[in-house]
Amino acid sequence: MTTTHPTDAVGDGTAAVGYPVLEVARDQVLDRGEGLDEGQVLAVLRLPDDALPELLEVAHEVRMRWCGPEVEVEGIVSLKTGGCPEDCHFCSQSGLFSSPVRSAWLDIPSLVQAAVQTAATGATEFCIVAAVRGPDERLMAQMREGVAAIRAAVDINVAASLGMLTQEQVDELADMGVHRYNHNLETSRSYFPNVVTTHTWEERWSTLEMVRDAGLEVCCGGIVGMGETLEQRAEFAAQLAELAPHEVPLNFLNPRPGTPFGDEPVLPATDALRTIAAFRLALPRTILRYAGGREITLGDLGTRDGLLGGINAVIVGNYLTTLGRPATDDLALLAELSMPVKALNATL
Protein backbone atom coordinates (compact mmCIF):
# COMPACT_ATOMS: atom_id res chain seq x y z
CA MET A 1 0.00 0.00 0.00
CA THR A 2 1.27 3.46 -0.83
CA THR A 3 1.39 5.72 2.19
CA THR A 4 1.82 9.42 2.64
CA HIS A 5 5.23 10.15 4.09
CA PRO A 6 6.01 12.75 6.70
CA THR A 7 8.12 15.74 5.84
CA ASP A 8 10.46 17.79 7.95
CA ALA A 9 8.90 21.23 8.03
CA VAL A 10 12.18 23.17 8.05
CA GLY A 11 14.54 20.59 6.63
CA ASP A 12 17.16 20.55 9.37
CA GLY A 13 15.89 17.44 11.07
CA THR A 14 15.03 19.21 14.29
CA ALA A 15 11.53 20.48 13.58
CA ALA A 16 8.38 18.52 14.27
CA VAL A 17 7.64 15.95 11.63
CA GLY A 18 4.31 16.44 9.89
CA TYR A 19 2.27 14.98 7.08
CA PRO A 20 1.53 17.37 4.21
CA VAL A 21 -2.12 16.39 3.90
CA LEU A 22 -2.67 17.18 7.57
CA GLU A 23 -1.16 20.61 7.10
CA VAL A 24 -3.56 21.10 4.19
CA ALA A 25 -6.43 19.88 6.38
CA ARG A 26 -5.58 22.45 9.07
CA ASP A 27 -5.58 25.29 6.59
CA GLN A 28 -8.38 24.23 4.27
CA VAL A 29 -10.82 22.43 6.56
CA LEU A 30 -10.13 23.67 10.07
CA ASP A 31 -9.50 27.31 9.24
CA ARG A 32 -11.73 27.79 6.18
CA GLY A 33 -14.36 25.06 6.56
CA GLU A 34 -13.80 23.64 3.08
CA GLY A 35 -13.85 19.85 2.95
CA LEU A 36 -11.05 17.79 1.48
CA ASP A 37 -11.55 16.64 -2.11
CA GLU A 38 -11.33 13.05 -3.32
CA GLY A 39 -7.57 13.06 -3.86
CA GLN A 40 -6.94 14.63 -0.49
CA VAL A 41 -9.22 12.12 1.23
CA LEU A 42 -7.28 9.33 -0.45
CA ALA A 43 -4.05 10.77 0.94
CA VAL A 44 -5.61 10.72 4.40
CA LEU A 45 -6.74 7.12 3.99
CA ARG A 46 -3.15 6.21 3.02
CA LEU A 47 -1.62 7.72 6.14
CA PRO A 48 0.35 5.20 8.20
CA ASP A 49 -0.77 4.07 11.62
CA ASP A 50 1.75 6.29 13.38
CA ALA A 51 0.01 9.33 11.90
CA LEU A 52 -3.34 8.27 13.34
CA PRO A 53 -3.18 10.22 16.63
CA GLU A 54 -2.42 13.45 14.78
CA LEU A 55 -5.11 12.72 12.18
CA LEU A 56 -7.75 12.09 14.83
CA GLU A 57 -6.73 15.27 16.64
CA VAL A 58 -7.21 17.36 13.49
CA ALA A 59 -10.55 15.71 12.72
CA HIS A 60 -11.72 16.36 16.28
CA GLU A 61 -10.69 20.01 16.07
CA VAL A 62 -12.64 20.30 12.80
CA ARG A 63 -15.71 18.72 14.38
CA MET A 64 -15.52 21.03 17.42
CA ARG A 65 -14.95 24.14 15.29
CA TRP A 66 -17.69 23.55 12.69
CA CYS A 67 -20.23 21.40 14.59
CA GLY A 68 -19.59 22.10 18.26
CA PRO A 69 -19.36 19.74 21.22
CA GLU A 70 -22.94 18.44 21.15
CA VAL A 71 -23.68 14.87 20.19
CA GLU A 72 -26.95 13.90 18.52
CA VAL A 73 -28.40 10.70 19.96
CA GLU A 74 -30.74 8.46 18.00
CA GLY A 75 -32.57 5.17 18.38
CA ILE A 76 -33.67 3.03 15.46
CA VAL A 77 -36.26 0.31 15.12
CA SER A 78 -37.31 -2.12 12.42
CA LEU A 79 -40.98 -1.74 11.56
CA LYS A 80 -40.84 -4.46 8.93
CA THR A 81 -38.04 -7.01 9.22
CA GLY A 82 -36.78 -9.49 6.61
CA GLY A 83 -38.25 -10.74 3.36
CA CYS A 84 -36.75 -7.93 1.29
CA PRO A 85 -36.72 -8.55 -2.49
CA GLU A 86 -33.39 -6.72 -2.94
CA ASP A 87 -29.97 -8.38 -2.88
CA CYS A 88 -27.81 -5.95 -0.89
CA HIS A 89 -24.95 -8.35 -0.21
CA PHE A 90 -24.32 -7.16 3.35
CA CYS A 91 -27.90 -7.49 4.52
CA SER A 92 -29.36 -10.37 6.51
CA GLN A 93 -32.86 -9.15 5.71
CA SER A 94 -32.76 -10.02 2.01
CA GLY A 95 -35.20 -12.75 1.14
CA LEU A 96 -32.79 -13.93 -1.53
CA PHE A 97 -30.14 -15.28 0.86
CA SER A 98 -30.12 -18.20 3.29
CA SER A 99 -30.06 -15.89 6.30
CA PRO A 100 -31.79 -17.06 9.50
CA VAL A 101 -33.66 -13.74 9.77
CA ARG A 102 -37.42 -14.30 9.40
CA SER A 103 -40.03 -11.74 8.39
CA ALA A 104 -41.71 -9.79 11.17
CA TRP A 105 -43.88 -6.70 11.53
CA LEU A 106 -43.82 -4.51 14.62
CA ASP A 107 -47.27 -3.53 15.88
CA ILE A 108 -48.09 0.12 16.55
CA PRO A 109 -48.20 -0.08 20.39
CA SER A 110 -44.76 -1.70 20.38
CA LEU A 111 -43.48 0.94 17.95
CA VAL A 112 -44.69 3.70 20.26
CA GLN A 113 -43.17 1.90 23.24
CA ALA A 114 -39.83 1.79 21.44
CA ALA A 115 -40.05 5.53 20.74
CA VAL A 116 -40.87 6.27 24.38
CA GLN A 117 -37.95 4.15 25.60
CA THR A 118 -35.65 5.83 23.09
CA ALA A 119 -36.71 9.29 24.25
CA ALA A 120 -36.06 8.23 27.84
CA THR A 121 -32.36 7.89 27.00
CA GLY A 122 -32.25 11.56 26.02
CA ALA A 123 -32.31 10.79 22.31
CA THR A 124 -33.84 13.38 20.03
CA GLU A 125 -34.13 11.17 16.95
CA PHE A 126 -36.17 8.03 16.39
CA CYS A 127 -35.81 6.39 12.99
CA ILE A 128 -38.39 3.91 11.71
CA VAL A 129 -36.85 1.46 9.25
CA ALA A 130 -38.38 -1.10 6.89
CA ALA A 131 -36.62 -3.77 4.83
CA VAL A 132 -38.26 -3.08 1.49
CA ARG A 133 -37.37 -1.94 -2.02
CA GLY A 134 -39.84 0.87 -1.45
CA PRO A 135 -43.00 1.26 0.58
CA ASP A 136 -46.32 -0.22 -0.56
CA GLU A 137 -49.70 1.05 0.59
CA ARG A 138 -49.72 -1.27 3.62
CA LEU A 139 -46.42 0.11 4.84
CA MET A 140 -47.45 3.72 4.20
CA ALA A 141 -50.66 3.10 6.17
CA GLN A 142 -48.61 1.63 9.02
CA MET A 143 -46.36 4.71 8.90
CA ARG A 144 -49.32 7.10 8.98
CA GLU A 145 -50.74 5.40 12.03
CA GLY A 146 -47.39 4.88 13.71
CA VAL A 147 -46.01 8.40 13.27
CA ALA A 148 -49.26 9.94 14.51
CA ALA A 149 -49.25 7.69 17.56
CA ILE A 150 -45.62 8.50 18.36
CA ARG A 151 -46.17 12.24 18.00
CA ALA A 152 -49.16 12.00 20.36
CA ALA A 153 -47.20 10.05 22.94
CA VAL A 154 -43.69 11.51 23.11
CA ASP A 155 -41.58 14.50 22.06
CA ILE A 156 -39.02 13.12 19.68
CA ASN A 157 -38.09 13.80 16.07
CA VAL A 158 -39.30 11.04 13.77
CA ALA A 159 -37.16 9.94 10.84
CA ALA A 160 -37.80 7.16 8.36
CA SER A 161 -35.90 4.75 6.14
CA LEU A 162 -38.21 2.91 3.77
CA GLY A 163 -36.14 2.42 0.64
CA MET A 164 -36.76 4.09 -2.69
CA LEU A 165 -39.67 6.52 -2.84
CA THR A 166 -42.01 8.06 -5.37
CA GLN A 167 -42.63 11.80 -5.28
CA GLU A 168 -46.08 11.15 -3.80
CA GLN A 169 -44.56 9.10 -0.99
CA VAL A 170 -41.98 11.79 -0.26
CA ASP A 171 -44.75 14.35 0.01
CA GLU A 172 -46.85 12.08 2.20
CA LEU A 173 -43.99 11.41 4.61
CA ALA A 174 -43.40 15.16 4.88
CA ASP A 175 -47.10 15.66 5.61
CA MET A 176 -46.94 13.04 8.36
CA GLY A 177 -44.24 15.05 10.11
CA VAL A 178 -41.26 12.89 9.22
CA HIS A 179 -38.44 15.43 9.40
CA ARG A 180 -35.49 13.40 8.10
CA TYR A 181 -35.23 10.57 5.59
CA ASN A 182 -32.46 8.00 5.52
CA HIS A 183 -31.44 6.35 2.30
CA ASN A 184 -27.85 5.16 2.20
CA LEU A 185 -25.84 5.11 -0.99
CA GLU A 186 -23.93 2.39 0.89
CA THR A 187 -20.69 2.70 -1.10
CA SER A 188 -19.10 4.50 -4.01
CA ARG A 189 -20.82 4.59 -7.37
CA SER A 190 -18.03 2.51 -8.93
CA TYR A 191 -18.25 -0.26 -6.30
CA PHE A 192 -22.04 -0.34 -5.94
CA PRO A 193 -22.59 -3.07 -8.59
CA ASN A 194 -20.44 -5.37 -6.43
CA VAL A 195 -22.81 -4.81 -3.53
CA VAL A 196 -26.29 -4.59 -5.08
CA THR A 197 -27.55 -5.86 -8.44
CA THR A 198 -31.33 -5.48 -8.09
CA HIS A 199 -31.29 -1.69 -8.31
CA THR A 200 -28.78 1.01 -9.15
CA TRP A 201 -26.82 3.65 -7.30
CA GLU A 202 -28.53 6.22 -9.52
CA GLU A 203 -31.99 5.09 -8.38
CA ARG A 204 -30.92 5.72 -4.82
CA TRP A 205 -29.54 9.13 -5.75
CA SER A 206 -32.87 10.00 -7.39
CA THR A 207 -34.77 9.31 -4.16
CA LEU A 208 -32.29 11.44 -2.23
CA GLU A 209 -32.81 14.36 -4.61
CA MET A 210 -36.58 14.13 -4.18
CA VAL A 211 -36.22 14.05 -0.41
CA ARG A 212 -33.96 17.09 -0.41
CA ASP A 213 -36.18 19.03 -2.81
CA ALA A 214 -39.20 18.35 -0.57
CA GLY A 215 -37.44 20.06 2.32
CA LEU A 216 -36.78 16.98 4.43
CA GLU A 217 -33.39 16.58 6.00
CA VAL A 218 -31.30 14.10 4.04
CA CYS A 219 -29.57 11.29 5.91
CA CYS A 220 -27.23 9.31 3.68
CA GLY A 221 -24.23 7.20 4.49
CA GLY A 222 -23.01 3.71 3.97
CA ILE A 223 -20.93 0.78 5.04
CA VAL A 224 -17.15 0.64 5.11
CA GLY A 225 -15.25 -2.63 4.80
CA MET A 226 -17.23 -4.40 2.09
CA GLY A 227 -14.15 -5.09 -0.03
CA GLU A 228 -13.90 -1.64 -1.60
CA THR A 229 -10.47 -0.15 -2.30
CA LEU A 230 -9.15 2.94 -0.56
CA GLU A 231 -9.69 4.77 -3.85
CA GLN A 232 -13.35 3.76 -3.80
CA ARG A 233 -13.66 4.79 -0.16
CA ALA A 234 -12.32 8.23 -1.09
CA GLU A 235 -14.67 8.32 -4.09
CA PHE A 236 -17.58 7.61 -1.76
CA ALA A 237 -16.60 10.43 0.59
CA ALA A 238 -16.45 12.83 -2.36
CA GLN A 239 -19.84 11.69 -3.63
CA LEU A 240 -21.36 12.22 -0.20
CA ALA A 241 -19.80 15.67 -0.08
CA GLU A 242 -21.44 16.45 -3.44
CA LEU A 243 -24.80 15.37 -2.01
CA ALA A 244 -24.18 17.44 1.15
CA PRO A 245 -26.50 15.47 3.42
CA HIS A 246 -27.56 16.74 6.82
CA GLU A 247 -26.35 13.48 8.34
CA VAL A 248 -23.97 10.69 7.35
CA PRO A 249 -24.36 7.41 9.25
CA LEU A 250 -21.12 5.47 9.10
CA ASN A 251 -21.45 1.70 9.39
CA PHE A 252 -18.66 -0.86 9.51
CA LEU A 253 -19.43 -4.20 7.93
CA ASN A 254 -20.69 -6.73 10.44
CA PRO A 255 -20.50 -9.88 8.31
CA ARG A 256 -23.86 -11.62 8.63
CA PRO A 257 -24.23 -15.39 8.31
CA GLY A 258 -25.82 -16.49 5.07
CA THR A 259 -25.13 -13.28 3.15
CA PRO A 260 -22.64 -12.99 0.27
CA PHE A 261 -20.44 -10.85 2.54
CA GLY A 262 -20.78 -13.27 5.46
CA ASP A 263 -17.13 -14.33 5.24
CA GLU A 264 -15.62 -10.87 4.74
CA PRO A 265 -13.06 -9.97 7.41
CA VAL A 266 -13.93 -7.37 10.02
CA LEU A 267 -12.34 -4.02 9.24
CA PRO A 268 -9.24 -3.33 11.37
CA ALA A 269 -9.88 -0.66 14.00
CA THR A 270 -7.13 1.56 12.63
CA ASP A 271 -8.76 1.55 9.18
CA ALA A 272 -12.12 2.37 10.73
CA LEU A 273 -10.66 5.31 12.67
CA ARG A 274 -8.82 6.59 9.59
CA THR A 275 -12.10 6.44 7.70
CA ILE A 276 -13.98 8.35 10.39
CA ALA A 277 -11.39 11.11 10.36
CA ALA A 278 -11.22 11.20 6.55
CA PHE A 279 -15.01 11.51 6.25
CA ARG A 280 -15.02 14.28 8.85
CA LEU A 281 -12.38 16.15 6.87
CA ALA A 282 -14.45 15.72 3.70
CA LEU A 283 -17.68 16.78 5.46
CA PRO A 284 -16.73 19.34 8.11
CA ARG A 285 -20.28 20.49 8.93
CA THR A 286 -22.21 17.22 8.60
CA ILE A 287 -23.64 15.16 11.44
CA LEU A 288 -21.34 12.11 11.32
CA ARG A 289 -23.00 9.27 13.15
CA TYR A 290 -21.67 6.04 14.55
CA ALA A 291 -24.01 3.38 13.20
CA GLY A 292 -23.77 -0.40 12.99
CA GLY A 293 -20.65 -2.51 13.40
CA ARG A 294 -18.70 -0.25 15.72
CA GLU A 295 -18.93 -2.75 18.59
CA ILE A 296 -17.08 -5.50 16.71
CA THR A 297 -14.79 -3.20 14.71
CA LEU A 298 -13.73 -0.71 17.36
CA GLY A 299 -14.76 -2.07 20.75
CA ASP A 300 -15.03 0.22 23.76
CA LEU A 301 -11.64 1.89 23.37
CA GLY A 302 -12.12 2.52 19.66
CA THR A 303 -15.58 3.95 20.27
CA ARG A 304 -13.96 6.58 22.47
CA ASP A 305 -11.26 7.25 19.87
CA GLY A 306 -13.87 7.82 17.17
CA LEU A 307 -15.76 10.29 19.34
CA LEU A 308 -12.46 12.13 19.69
CA GLY A 309 -11.76 11.80 15.97
CA GLY A 310 -14.72 13.34 14.14
CA ILE A 311 -17.88 11.51 15.22
CA ASN A 312 -20.63 13.76 16.63
CA ALA A 313 -23.67 11.50 16.71
CA VAL A 314 -24.48 7.99 17.86
CA ILE A 315 -27.12 5.34 17.51
CA VAL A 316 -27.73 4.13 21.03
CA GLY A 317 -29.06 0.75 22.01
CA ASN A 318 -29.78 -1.99 19.54
CA TYR A 319 -29.76 -1.96 15.76
CA LEU A 320 -32.26 -3.55 13.39
CA THR A 321 -31.28 -7.21 13.70
CA THR A 322 -28.22 -7.08 15.96
CA LEU A 323 -27.56 -5.70 19.42
CA GLY A 324 -25.53 -2.67 20.42
CA ARG A 325 -23.90 -1.40 23.59
CA PRO A 326 -26.32 -0.45 26.34
CA ALA A 327 -27.41 3.15 25.89
CA THR A 328 -26.24 3.88 29.42
CA ASP A 329 -22.65 2.97 28.45
CA ASP A 330 -22.62 5.43 25.55
CA LEU A 331 -24.25 8.17 27.61
CA ALA A 332 -21.71 7.67 30.40
CA LEU A 333 -18.90 7.91 27.87
CA LEU A 334 -20.30 11.16 26.46
CA ALA A 335 -20.51 12.59 29.98
CA GLU A 336 -16.93 11.53 30.67
CA LEU A 337 -15.80 13.25 27.47
CA SER A 338 -17.78 16.41 28.36
CA MET A 339 -19.83 16.07 25.20
CA PRO A 340 -23.39 17.23 25.90
CA VAL A 341 -26.29 15.39 24.30
CA LYS A 342 -28.08 17.64 21.82
CA ALA A 343 -31.40 18.78 23.25
CA LEU A 344 -34.67 18.43 21.38
CA ASN A 345 -35.32 22.17 21.23
CA ALA A 346 -31.95 22.61 19.54
CA THR A 347 -33.07 20.39 16.67
CA LEU A 348 -36.44 21.98 15.93
Partner: protein, 70 residues
Protein backbone atom coordinates in the same frame (compact mmCIF):
# COMPACT_ATOMS: atom_id res chain seq x y z
CA UNK B 1 -33.80 -26.41 29.65
CA UNK B 2 -31.97 -28.75 27.30
CA UNK B 3 -30.02 -26.95 24.60
CA UNK B 4 -29.79 -29.43 21.76
CA UNK B 5 -29.10 -26.82 19.07
CA UNK B 6 -27.02 -23.68 18.73
CA UNK B 7 -29.15 -20.54 18.94
CA UNK B 8 -26.97 -18.81 16.34
CA UNK B 9 -26.16 -21.36 13.62
CA UNK B 10 -28.85 -23.95 14.34
CA UNK B 11 -26.44 -26.88 14.24
CA UNK B 12 -26.48 -29.53 17.01
CA UNK B 13 -24.55 -28.36 20.07
CA UNK B 14 -22.66 -31.63 20.23
CA UNK B 15 -21.55 -31.42 16.60
CA UNK B 16 -18.36 -29.38 16.82
CA UNK B 17 -17.53 -26.31 18.86
CA UNK B 18 -19.73 -23.24 19.04
CA UNK B 19 -17.30 -20.89 20.78
CA UNK B 20 -17.54 -18.31 18.00
CA UNK B 21 -21.33 -18.57 18.01
CA UNK B 22 -21.49 -18.13 21.77
CA UNK B 23 -19.22 -15.09 21.57
CA UNK B 24 -21.32 -13.58 18.77
CA UNK B 25 -24.52 -14.05 20.76
CA UNK B 26 -23.35 -11.30 23.12
CA UNK B 27 -24.29 -8.89 20.32
CA UNK B 28 -27.00 -10.88 18.55
CA UNK B 29 -30.39 -12.23 19.53
CA UNK B 30 -30.93 -15.98 19.15
CA UNK B 31 -32.17 -17.04 15.72
CA UNK B 32 -32.83 -20.76 16.24
CA UNK B 33 -34.83 -22.47 18.93
CA UNK B 34 -32.34 -24.44 21.00
CA UNK B 35 -34.89 -27.20 21.59
CA UNK B 36 -36.21 -27.88 18.10
CA UNK B 37 -33.98 -25.89 15.67
CA UNK B 38 -36.92 -23.95 14.23
CA UNK B 39 -36.01 -20.49 12.96
CA UNK B 40 -37.61 -18.04 15.36
CA UNK B 41 -39.43 -14.80 14.57
CA UNK B 42 -37.16 -12.19 16.14
CA UNK B 43 -37.98 -8.55 16.82
CA UNK B 44 -35.18 -6.27 17.96
CA UNK B 45 -36.09 -2.93 19.59
CA UNK B 46 -33.70 -0.29 20.94
CA UNK B 47 -33.73 -1.68 24.47
CA UNK B 48 -34.19 -5.41 23.95
CA UNK B 49 -35.47 -8.25 21.77
CA UNK B 50 -38.04 -11.00 21.56
CA UNK B 51 -37.61 -14.35 19.79
CA UNK B 52 -40.63 -16.57 19.24
CA UNK B 53 -40.66 -20.25 18.40
CA UNK B 54 -44.01 -21.48 17.12
CA UNK B 55 -43.61 -24.63 19.21
CA UNK B 56 -41.74 -23.56 22.34
CA UNK B 57 -42.87 -20.00 22.97
CA UNK B 58 -41.13 -16.67 23.36
CA UNK B 59 -37.78 -15.61 24.79
CA UNK B 60 -37.01 -12.03 25.81
CA UNK B 61 -33.78 -10.17 26.32
CA UNK B 62 -32.92 -6.72 27.58
CA UNK B 63 -35.66 -4.37 28.65
CA UNK B 64 -38.73 -5.19 26.57
CA UNK B 65 -42.13 -4.14 27.80
CA UNK B 66 -45.13 -5.48 25.91
CA UNK B 67 -47.53 -2.54 25.81
CA UNK B 68 -50.43 -4.94 25.29
CA UNK B 69 -49.40 -7.14 28.20
CA UNK B 70 -49.01 -10.27 26.06
Amino acid sequence: MTEDYCARCGEPRDAGEHLACDAALVLEPPRYCVRCRRRMVVQVVPTGWTARCSEHGELRGGDVVDPLGR
